[in-house]
Symmetry: C2
C-alpha cells in the first residue's frame, strides 16, 4: 500500500481502505435514479441507483452498476426488460422506498404496471424502458448495459441528488 | 417506434429520437470528474466525464463511459494506468479545459506529473490512480472499469455538477 502525497500537499489517502475510498466518492455528487424490473418469477424488483450514466445517444444506451447480491440482480439477464426512472425532490420518497428492505419496496400505490408489465414508478420526472444488452460481472458487482426503447416524461421537477449522505438538488454556483 | 403515454398522462417521449433521449437525461444531474492518462506515445490525454460511478468498495473499483473516437480512448487498454479526479466549483476551469479541443487540454500549468507519469490535475477535491481492469466496447462507445490503487484528497470544496447544460453545485432541497 503506497500513500502518495499530492503536488500541493493534500492529505494522503489510503484508498485500499474502505473508508478512504468512500471518502473520495463522497466528494462526488450523483444523480438519483430508480431501476425496476421483473425477476424470473415475475415479481417486481428494483433499487435506487446513483450510478446511472448515459453511454450513447445513437442507439440510446445507458449503464448502471449494482451488487450481484441485490434482490434485482436475478432480473438482469440479457434480453430482459428494465425500467429506468429519473427522480426529483418530489419523488424523494420513491428513492427512499426503493432503498428500503427489498420486501417492502413495492408495497404501496407508488407504481403501476407499464410496458412488459414492468413496474413504472409514479411522480418521476422521466422514465425509460429498455432491454438488458450486456451484463458484465466484476468481482461481486456488475455493470449493466441497457438499450432504451421507449419512455415518457413526467411532471417537471428539479433533479434529485445524493451527496454527503443526503438528498439534495442542483443549485447555482454563485448563489 | 412505440410512443407510450405514462400512467398519469405524461408527455409521450419518442426515445429513439436523439433529442428525446437527451431530454430525459437532462432531467438527471451528474457529478463532474476528469479522467487523465498517457496514450501509447506517452502523450497526456484526458476528458471531462459525467459518467463516473463507484462499482465496488472492496476492491475499490469505478467505471466511466466514453466514446471510442475520443482522443483518450487509445490509452484505455487493460493494465494501463488512469487518474480520476473529483472536481469542485473551484476547479470548474479544469472541467472546461478538459472538455475543450484535445490539442489544448494539457497546455498550461493546471497539472503536474504524478504516479506512473500520469497527469494529476491541480485544485481538484480528490484524485485516485488506478489500473484499467476491463474495457467493454459497445457500438461506438465503451465502458471502462478501473481498479483504484491510490490517491489523495485535495482542498475541500463543494461538488461540481453538470445539469441543464450548466455547471452547478448541490443545494439543500428545502432551501
Amino acid at each position: 500500500m503506497n500513500q502518495i502525497t499530492g503536488p500541493t500537499g493534500e492529505e494522503p489517502l489510503a484508498v485500499d481502505d474502505l473508508d478512504a475510498f468512500k471518502q473520495a466518492f463522497r466528494r462526488h455528487a450523483a444523480g438519483v435514479a430508480a431501476v425496476t424490473s421483473l425477476d424470473p418469477q415475475g415479481k417486481p424488483v428494483g433499487f435506487t441507483a446513483t450510478s446511472l450514466a448515459s453511454l450513447a445517444a445513437v442507439p440510446p444506451m445507458a449503464t448502471f452498476n449494482m451488487s450481484q447480491v441485490a434482490s434485482a440482480y436475478p432480473a438482469m439477464t440479457v434480453g430482459n426488460h428494465v425500467a429506468i426512472h429519473m427522480l426529483g425532490p418530489r419523488s424523494r420518497h420513491i428513492a427512499e422506498k426503493l432503498a428500503a428492505d427489498h420486501d417492502v419496496r413495492f408495497a404501496g400505490d407508488h407504481w403501476t404496471p407499464g410496458p412488459h408489465g414492468l413496474p413504472i414508478l409514479s411522480d418521476v420526472t422521466a422514465w425509460m424502458v429498455g432491454t438488458v444488452l450486456e451484463v458484465h460481472p466484476v468481482h461481486n458487482n456488475a455493470v449493466i448495459v441497457v438499450q432504451i426503447e421507449t419512455g415518457a416524461l413526467g411532471p417537471e421537477d428539479e433533479a434529485l441528488l445524493y451527496h454527503e449522505r443526503s438528498y439534495m438538488k442542483p443549485g447555482a454556483i454563485d448563489a
